[in-house]
Symmetry: C2
Subunit: 315 residues, 2 copies
């Protein structure tokens, strides 16, 4: 019973989270979101809100979904819990600003159930084309503050988990300056598959109520972490050079999402709605053979800063 109530409370909260985020984006972006309400043949459905060709955002998608049904065996084997029945509910968003000086952002907050197990997961990560301490510092400090309200040990571990996850092994490059990434929260005290071995298990992570409170707090902190950055970068001057660099770096975003992203693979393998899953892909992308930024250029400095995998909260 407590479990059914949590399932419904979480679903309602995630649905409102989508409303809140879209409303806050509306204060920055005059273009309207298109809404698609869809049903999944195997069970459940969702509400996608997407815009293309905005003034500030070249493409933006904020999707709510609440799906359930049966997992294929190979998918089930990769998840905690038992049996083939699953439910997945949450908000997933990707925002691609037009201005190359403004970073792309991804966030996902979700609750999963498989058989008798249920847990929260998600996170948010920032992908600047031009890296700077001011933006990355604001993003990370805002997230750290939200984490610290629950347990001082969460941010460092979830920051490291994010760096580990959003990494392109074939390029040995991080996707961006990271953020936080977490999973299996509220699943109970047993160790679960996928949790890094060195991760301690605190009460804030194992108790379902505390896990839900944590997810609510970091999800609520998302707009405060990201929107001020877009606000201060959206009118920065840029030209063909910055655009080209943005398009090439967006190629890395596509490579990560299609080659490695668990959410994309999970969605496509559970017969999710393709257009909603792939709304994460940038509107325009360029692949240039052997492209390297000129030595000493701002682009080369940006790439080096990305690859340093540093603590951004200082400075």
């Amino acid at each position: 019973m407590a479990r059914v109530i949590m399932t419904e409370r979480a679903a309602e909260w995630f649905e409102r989270l989508q409303d809140t985020i879209v409303a806050e984006l509306g204060r920055l972006e005059p273009a309207p979101f298109r809404e698609d309400v869809w049903a999944r043949p195997g069970g459940g459905g969702g509400r996608s809100r997407v815009l293309g060709g905005g003034d500030v955002f070249e493409k933006a998608g904020v999707n709510y979904s609440n799906v359930h049904g049966e997992l294929r065996p190979e998918m089930a084997a990769s998840l905690p819990g038992d049996g083939a029945q699953f439910r997945a509910c949450g908000v997933s968003l990707v925002l691609h600003p037009r201005n190359p000086r403004a970073p792309t952002v991804h966030a996902n907050f979700r609750r999963l159930e498989r058989g008798s197990a249920a847990w929260f997961g998600g996170g948010t990560d920032l992908t600047p084309y031009y890296v700077n301490q001011e933006d990355a510092g604001h993003f990370h400090r805002t997230l750290r503050a939200a984490c610290d309200r629950h347990d001082g040990g969460l941010y460092p571990r979830f920051k490291a988990w994010c760096d580990d996850y959003f990494h392109l092994p074939h390029r040995n490059e991080p996707r961006g300056v990271g953020g936080i990434f977490f999973d299996y929260l509220g699943a109970g005290a047993e160790r679960v598959a996928g949790r890094p071995a060195a991760t301690a298990v605190t009460a804030a992570e194992t108790d379902p109520e505390r896990a839900f409170a944590f997810v609510q707090d970091v999800a609520a902190a998302f707009t405060a972490a990201y929107l001020p950055i877009v606000e201060r970068r959206k009118d920065d001057p840029w030209g063909e050079r910055e655009r080209n660099w943005q398009l090439i770096r967006r190629g890395r975003y596509v490579e990560f999402n299609l080659l490695y992203d668990r959410g994309t693979v999970f969605g496509l393998r559970t017969d999710g709605r393709v257009e909603s899953i792939l709304m994460s892909l940038p509107p325009e992308v360029r692949w240039e053979y052997g492209h390297l930024p000129a030595p000493g250029s701002e682009e080369a400095a940006s790439l080096a800063a990305l690859c340093a995998r540093k603590d951004w909260t200082g400075g």
Copy 2:
């Protein structure tokens, strides 16, 4: 000894094949190919020839590689043969014309060894943005003629294998109008993993010498199958509408290569040279949420023709 000789003969032949194809492309395209000779840290190397921003080809890559070393266990498990030692040698090419009326093409001809097993594989497939019977018919008839010189049963089976392979399950769309696809040729008479159950095993497929002769013939037929199509389409008029459709359909090409293509995955998992592997990705790509061609449009007719999965050799 016979095996070592075949390894060397095949390598020499593939290296010359790259020369021949690049020379024939040079009759159509004034822009020069850039050549990169590279060594693979684990063993072997290659010679990539790539051009970007040509008059006819927006991007073109014709790569020769001859690599060897040790397979990771999960990679080894997916291949015939025994042990961890492998060698892979061949030519892989992708040509992306600038004109949206000219189709993209991919071809790959290769020889693999794992432990005591050795086999040929490859094929070529055509991806038009605007589908027409004339081009697809010429491509398929040329390939059929090359196949028929070896065994009348090869083309129908390799055509069907190509249709099965170059398919995007998440979209339930073929990548293009297909061509031929084959694998495990010359590996001997035993059945090998990955061969479709209904495929008969003919002498042309099991004998190493006959398999090599077959690969040489279809590889030599490639330019005759493809270049006349580009020649007759490269000056067709096109505008923003055709360009947009081309960029959106190129997105499907990226989705296939990063989500499903075995060659891409093989390359990235055997520490291949990233820029050579990903040269297959189109130079410019667009993802538009929920894009559908207007009912009754030429684009809608093209998509319907693709999805029909028909026999193109007639007409």
